[in-house]
Amino acid sequence: MRHYIKVEMLRMLRNKRYIIFVVAFPVGFYLLYSNLWGSESDQATGLRGSVLLMVSMAAYGALAAAMMSTAVPWSQERHSGWLRQLQITPLPGRAIILTKLASSLLLVLPSLLLVGLAAVLTQHVSLPPLRWVELILAMWAGTIPFAALGLAIGSLLPPDTAQPVAMIGMFGLALLGGLWFPESMMPATMKSIAHVTPSYDYARIGWRIAAGETPHAADAAGILAWGIALVGLALVAYRRATVRA
């Protein structure tokens, strides 16, 4: 299975779409936005713009990586016959979804680390070492619900539908989570929808850790509940997609 994870990583790192959405986008937008608003200070969180934007763009990149590396590739593999190719080898069925999840989590790391690096190098962002560790670990673990959502989409939909659904889901969650503009600027209805999304909880946990505060229990509970629900959905959908008639 280690070799399988290696192969999965290798192919995604050669995938242009992954590199553009997951590595180039978040780093590029971080550089742009932090030049515009990097020195301003945010009212709600008390964070400097350069730090707030670092968390926002890292969160966007991680969310995008988790969904991009799962939904469409997995849907394509099911439909192209690659899944069957694997099913007639001694590889056990559960190894496929576990590998997909594990490699998706590893593929989240480049965007998290590169946005952080860009923040340190261009905006001279500096946090205490322990806070860096906490921030990266929390933002890493927090992508599990999104990877599960991507896998569920890939199991339930054919590739030509999985593609737009994953895109809309990814940008929708990023937008509602307040990753592209602050939640305080949202109209009332949008705000109340935003409050129940996992990306909103995810971003708030990141900002609070970056500010040196303890994340709210409600945010942690929110993302945990989403995590359990989406992992459950992903498992049920996977079983349905691989059932032998």
Binding site: Y4, R11, I88, T89, P90, P92
Partner: protein
């Protein structure tokens, strides 16, 4: 003095016992009984929709029979697959576009407990020169060769090929069958589905003809040719009546086309003798044809 030699029943690679597969109202496989001993190369010959792919898919445990039992080396298909005993080339299947040929083959071979060495697989599938090419830059025929490589990567004792040459040109086909024979030479069992008669004739020791989910003939290509309709005799009938010709001794079928009538027969001498002796027909331009596999195939798979 003769010493009695104990008879050892040879191990069957494949055994279907009364296997039926139903999709709703459609009976894809209808009470199939088939045993294939280890080491044989067998063609599963039949028209589209005969149940070839369904049978192969069931052999791989990807489909379960509605009734009956399938054994692969004495075990259920899932067990044989998990033990790495089976390799297969299914009809459809693309590769991971971002991986090279060598990466793809190496990945799959590592999933098996007793794989062949990478270099040997590449050589057996004629891929050595393409090893570093990415899958999305391969032609259709090259992709088929990689899929053959994936089927043999684990060094399986049983190789299943479902219409493997469908996307290949004539030259690739010839090479493909040479490669298959090289793999079979190690005492391995091969079952391939095809609707090309020449492929079955040239590459299999045994041909199993299936139609409508049942075995309709089973034997060497020569036996199948001989067993069905044997030979045929044709002559110009002109405007004379065709009635009564089917009652001639040995006759198994009568076809009329453009004034020429063809009688299929299992006993050429008796049919021809009776044609002259017991009918009043004016027989012109009499020709005798030996049946080829094509005729046998058509006769066998025609609606019974």
């Amino acid at each position: 003095m003769r010493v009695p030699i104990p008879t050892v029943k040879p191990m069957n690679a494949i055994a279907f016992t009364g296997v039926t597969k139903r999709y709703g109202d459609v009976l894809a496989v209808d009470g199939l009984d088939l045993e294939i001993p280890a080491g044989a190369t067998v063609a599963l010959l039949g028209p589209n929709g005969a149940g070839k792919s369904t049978s192969i898919t069931m052999l791989l445990g990807l489909l379960r029979p509605s009734s009956g039992e399938i054994r692969v080396f004495g075990a259920p298909p899932e067990t044989a697959v998990a033990a790495g005993e089976i390799g297969a080339m299914l009809q459809e299947g693309t590769l991971i576009p971002e991986l090279t040929v060598a990466e793809t083959v190496d990945f799959v071979r590592r999933l098996y407990p007793r794989p062949l060495p990478l270099e040997e697989i590449l050589r057996l599938a004629d891929l050595t020169a393409l090893a570093r090419r990415r899958a999305d830059r391969l032609s259709g025929g090259q992709t088929q060769r990689v899929r053959f490589a994936l089927a043999i990567a684990g060094g399986p004792r049983l190789l299943l090929l479902d219409e493997p040459t469908a996307a290949m040109d004539v030259e690739s086909r010839r090479t493909f069958w040479d490669n298959m024979r090289a793999y079979a030479a190690g005492g391995r069992t091969i079952l391939f589905a095809t609707h090309y008669l020449e492929e079955a004739d040239e590459n299999a020791d045994r041909v199993v003809v299936i139609a409508r989910g049942r075995v309709v003939a089973d034997g060497s290509a020569a036996e199948i040719k001989a067993g069905v309709a044997g030979q045929a005799v044709s002559f110009l009938l002109g405007g004379q009546p065709v009635a009564g010709l089917d009652a001639l001794p040995g006759t198994t079928g009568v076809e009329l086309q453009g004034g020429r009538v063809t009688l299929r027969t299992t006993d050429l001498d008796a049919t021809v003798a009776a044609l002259y002796r017991t009918t009043t027909l004016e027989v012109r331009d009499l020709q005798v044809h030996g049946a080829d596999l094509e005729d046998a195939f058509l006769a066998l798979t025609k609606e019974a």
